[in-house]
Structure formats: structure tokens, C-alpha cells
């Protein structure tokens, strides 16, 4: 500093006011560049017919009109809703149950269990899908061999029957994500004061009632957070069906994200893919926002 002034510099005077903008700035710059602009470009592309080379042809609402008539799109939507229902109705409760079991007082090896259940999410999905493909091969897989040995029947066409293929995909989802969600619930449970349970016990509440009247309300914030995250991420499920079944047999495991990927990168229909993306955005964003608001995620009460 060449001059020493009595007055602090302009920056020093305003630092506390301006610093936070600089601190949070990088996120918004990246957000604008890599999210807002792409969404805008996606909306534009969705009104065009474009194969990736040459000028996009403006076709107005044609893409949307075709989408609504496209049975594949509805199939993928149906499948995605199925996956979402499964995670909300099965994976989520299963995680909560598992977390409650792990929260049992004085449980030995709690950390070991916690780690074992968590490990699947650590492993790359391609690896996981390969191993599941190995296990659920209809002709020579481990699963059928085990069923054969135990029940004398092992001819299930795991990945080639439309129904079983969906089962295999959700089993994979269950296996991959249950342990991950469990640790969130477990952390939530560990935050519930023991006194609440003791008070409930004094009132003569059984295990079920104390679960309903103490545990569930106390878990509301964590459930909300997990619920929204899971809802949004399952809405864009891609890796599990893509790697395991390629969406097959037929289109019975095709998800919306796969539909978009297929249109854009396998069929060169980039405008069409963008239109599907915009519809998906509208749906997921609305559901996500409503859920966030309902559950008050990210707000300090």
C-alpha cells in the first residue's frame, strides 16, 4: 500500500456485503452456462427437425404432436412411473425398515452392517450391471442354477420376459440404493431423542404405535429430503435398464432418459429428443418443486 488513509478502502467498507456474492457466484455462472443456456437451447431445438448436421428446420409443435402419438414414449413414461413407484413404495420403506433395525439399541457390528449395505452404490454401475447380467442369464445364470438346485425349477427367462426383465431391473435398483438411503434414515433415527420413546412407552404405546407417533414425525425432514432426491433421480433412471437390458425385451424396460438418449444418439433425431426432454423437464420440475415446497426442504423452520 502506497498511501495509508484513515478511511478504509471502498472494498474494505463493502466487503461483508459483497463477499457472499463472490462466494456463491461460481455456482450461478456454471448454472447459467451449463443449465440455463442448454435448457433454452433445448426448448428451441424442440421446435425443430434436426439430425445434427445442417440447419435445424423449424417445425413448430410437430415434435410434441408426434411425441403424444408415439407409443414408445408412452411405454417409456409408463416404465419410468413404474420405477418411481417402486423406489417410493418399496426401496424407501425398505431402507427405513433396515435403518430401524440397525438403530436397535446396543447393536453390535452396526458399522460393519452399515458399510456392507452401502458398498453397492460405491461400485460402478457398469460393473454391477455386468454381474447382474451374469447372475440373471436365462440359460446359464446363477439365479436359475440356484432355483434349480433348491426348487427343482430354474427356467425363468429373467431378461427376456417382459415382466421378469422389469423385476430384474428393480431388484438391481433395490440392491444398489437401499443401503445408500439407509444411512440417511439411520442418521435421522439417531437424532431422535431417546426420551421421546421413553415417554411414549410410559403412555403405554407399543412398538408400532411409538414408530407411528414418534419415529415417523421425527423423520419428516430426512424423509422429505430423501423422497425428493429419490423421486427426481428415479425419474431420470438410465444406467440400470440401459446396461442390463438395453431397454428390452422389446421396450418393456425402456425409461424416459433412455428414450431421449436413443432418439438423440442412436437415431439422430435431436429435435425430437429435445422435445421429449422439455416435457420431462416440465413434469419432473413441477413434481420436484411441489415436493420441495410441501416438505419445506432447505428451509430453516
Amino acid at each position: 500500500m502506497s498511501t495509508v488513509s484513515a478511511q478504509p478502502s471502498w472494498w474494505r467498507r463493502n466487503e461483508v456485503r459483497l463477499a457472499p456474492y463472490l462466494f456463491i457466484g461460481p455456482f450461478y455462472v456454471l448454472y447459467a452456462l451449463f443449465m440455463i443456456i442448454p435448457i433454452g437451447a433445448g426448448v428451441y431445438l424442440s421446435f425443430t427437425d434436426w439430425a445434427g448436421l445442417g440447419a435445424p428446420q423449424w417445425i413448430g409443435l410437430e415434435n410434441y404432436r408426434y411425441l403424444l402419438q408415439d407409443n414408445s414414449f408412452w411405454t417409456s413414461l409408463g416404465n419410468t412411473v413404474f420405477y418411481m413407484s417402486f423406489t417410493m413404495l418399496v426401496v424407501l420403506p425398505a431402507s427405513l425398515l433396515l435403518a430401524s433395525a440397525l438403530n436397535a439399541r446396543g447393536l453390535k457390528l452396526r458399522d460393519t452392517f452399515r458399510i456392507i449395505f452401502f458398498v453397492p452404490v460405491v461400485i460402478s454401475p457398469i460393473v454391477v450391471a455386468l454381474v447382474f447380467g451374469l447372475i440373471f442369464d436365462g440359460q446359464f445364470g446363477l439365479m436359475n442354477a440356484l432355483l434349480q438346485a433348491v426348487f427343482g425349477f430354474g427356467g425363468i427367462e429373467w431378461t427376456t420376459d417382459p415382466l421378469w426383465a422389469r423385476v430384474v431391473v428393480v431388484v438391481l435398483v433395490l440392491w444398489r440404493w437401499t443401503g445408500y438411503l439407509t444411512i440417511f434414515f439411520l442418521a435421522g433415527l439417531q437424532n431422535v431423542p431417546r426420551e421421546l420413546y421413553e415417554a411414549a412407552a410410559l403412555d403405554g404405546a407399543g412398538a408400532v404405535r411409538s414408530f407411528l407417533s414418534v419415529t415417523l414425525p421425527a423423520l419428516r425432514p430426512v424423509t422429505a429430503f430423501i423422497g425428493v432426491t429419490v423421486l427426481v433421480s428415479t425419474a431420470q433412471i438410465f444406467e440400470e435398464p440401459f446396461l442390463l437390458t438395453q431397454g428390452g425385451p422389446g421396450e418393456s424396460t425402456l425409461s424416459i432418459a433412455m428414450f431421449i438418449y436413443r432418439a438423440a444418439f442412436q437415431r439422430q433425431e435431436l429435435g425430437y429428443a429435445a422435445a421429449a426432454g422439455v416435457l420431462m423437464f416440465a413434469a419432473v420440475f413441477t413434481i420436484g418443486r411441489i415436493a420441495l415446497r410441501l416438505f419445506q426442504v432447505g428451509r430453516n423452520a
Binding site: 462466494f23 448454472y31 452392517f113 452401502f118 446359464f140 438346485a149 442418521a187 420436484g288 418443486r289 420441495l292
Partner: protein, 271 residues
């Protein structure tokens, strides 16, 4: 031990075995010759265990290059992401400023933007601007994850007392200085969690690299394995060996930092 307790342990142990079977089966199959992988009846321990698959993938495929790309991308993006998330989390937790609520709302909303929506346009934008390479496309757009910022904000609120900040300001420290020397050290447990979370996400990510990276010299591990498997010949043997090797770094990172990850990851969600 009560009967109930015994039941609980049995159930948990059974479940743990179920969770472990696929991994064990994958590892065991990696040591089998190609034509033994599907032998009937299945054997948990290969009759003639072989290292041939590992040798073949290490000698015949650019496995180390895949590993290097994956690891470097994950390390760089993790380092930057952790720093930016801490910074932004601190900004949101400890300052009052105009539009704070609205900006935070935008941040939270971005959690609800499905990735599939932006992949096509983002891919095109990167292609057109000539930034469609592994170093830019796999790192830059993702270095400020909203989830990480949210998590750090929660953590800062819980663990950084306002008095410390006041004291530092009275000592004449600048805000960024305060962040570096006062706040960051206090965030260490959460930083560990965020770092592991981010590293694993990046190391294992599949869809985005699948779209962005088409130059085989820049393949990440998941892409290399996928290409190897998709190539004519569906080489289960090689791919399984590669998978086992690929899983090692992520498992090491996880086991070393497991406590921080499992505790830190949940900090933001619980409160």
C-alpha cells in the same frame, strides 16, 4: 441375548450375505476361464482359477490409460468442487444479502432439473464450442453441485460459531481470508464426506461420458469396459477382470474415508 435379538442378527446377517453375493460372484467369475463362467452347476470357487483374464486386460487393453483418465478427472473435479461448495455453503450460511432467499431457491430448484433434459443441448454446445473433450466436458460443468452446496451450508450453520467470524473480522481479516483460515479447517469432516461422494460420482459416472467422450484415447474406465463388452465377442472374462480392478480404487477411497462419508453425507439431510 433375547430371542428377538437373535432374530435381528440372523436377519441382518442373511441380508448382508444377499448384498455381498453379487460382488463375490463377480470376483469369483473374474478368475474363471471364459467357458467356465457359465458352467453348470455353478461353482463359487473356480475349479481352475486363472489370472489369464487379468493378464489379457492389462496387456491387451489400455487399462492403465482408462484408470488414469478416470482418476485424474475424479481428483481434479473433486478438488475444485469441494472448494467451491465450501465457499458457497459458507456464503449462504453466514451472510445476509439481498436476494438470498431467491438465489437459494434457484439452487435448490436445480436439484429438480433432470439431467436427461440438458444432455442433448449441452452436448451440442460443447461440440460447437470445441470443448467436447474429457478434461473440459467431464469436469467444468459439474464442479459446483447444488447438493454439495446445500450439504455444506447445513454443516457450516451447525459447526461454525458466529463469534469466531466476528473475532477474525475485528483482527482485520478479509472475508476470503476468514474462509480459508477460520472456516475451512472447521469443515474438515464434511469436506471428507463431500470429497468421497464427489469422487465416487465422478469416477463411476457413465451416461455423460458415454455421450461426450468418443475418442478412445480419452476413455474413462466405465467407457472402456463398456466398449470392451460391446465389441464383437462380448468378452465377459476380460470385462469382469477389468471390473474387479476398476472397483478397487473406489473401494479403497470408500473404506479409508467411510466414517466421514457416512456421517458427513447425512449431516445436511437430517436437520
Amino acid at each position: 441375548m433375547t430371542k428377538q435379538r437373535a432374530g435381528l442378527y440372523t436377519a441382518l446377517t442373511l441380508l448382508a450375505v444377499l448384498f455381498l453375493i453379487p460382488m463375490i460372484w463377480g470376483v469369483s467369475s473374474a478368475f474363471k476361464a471364459r467357458s467356465d463362467i457359465f458352467e453348470y452347476p455353478p461353482r463359487l470357487f473356480p475349479a481352475e482359477p486363472t489370472l489369464e483374464n487379468f493378464r489379457a486386460i492389462l496387456d491387451g487393453q489400455p487399462f492403465w490409460s482408462w484408470l488414469l483418465v478416470s482418476t485424474l478427472v475424479a481428483l481434479v473435479s473433486t478438488a475444485v468442487a469441494v472448494f467451491l461448495c465450501c465457499l458457497a455453503g459458507f456464503g449462504f450460511a453466514k451472510y445476509q444479502f439481498r436476494f438470498k432467499n431467491a438465489l437459494f431457491d434457484v439452487l435448490i430448484s436445480s436439484l429438480a432439473v433432470p439431467f436427461a433434459v440438458i444432455i442433448v443441448p449441452l452436448f451440442i454446445l460443447l461440440a460447437v464450442t470445441g470443448t467436447l473433450n474429457v478434461w473440459f466436458a467431464l469436469i467444468v460443468p459439474w464442479v459446483a453441485p447444488a447438493f454439495g452446496i446445500f450439504m455444506m451450508r447445513q454443516y457450516v450453520e451447525q459447526s461454525v460459531p458466529d463469534e469466531l467470524l466476528h473475532a477474525a473480522r475485528i483482527d482485520g481479516a478479509g472475508e476470503f481470508r476468514i474462509f480459508l483460515s477460520v472456516v475451512l479447517p472447521l469443515l474438515r469432516p464434511a469436506v471428507g464426506a463431500l470429497a468421497v461422494w464427489n469422487f465416487l460420482n465422478s469416477y463411476n459416472s457413465f451416461l455423460w461420458p458415454l455421450i461426450v467422450v468418443s475418442d478412445p484415447d480419452q476413455y474413462t474406465l466405465p467407457l472402456g469396459l463398456q466398449a470392451l463388452f460391446g465389441a464383437e465377442g462380448r468378452q465377459y472374462d476380460l470385462v469382469l477382470a477389468g471390473s474387479v480392478l476398476a472397483a478397487i480404487p473406489s473401494l479403497i477411497v470408500f473404506f479409508v474415508l467411510r466414517k466421514q462419508l457416512l456421517d458427513g453425507l447425512t449431516a445436511g439431510a437430517v436437520k
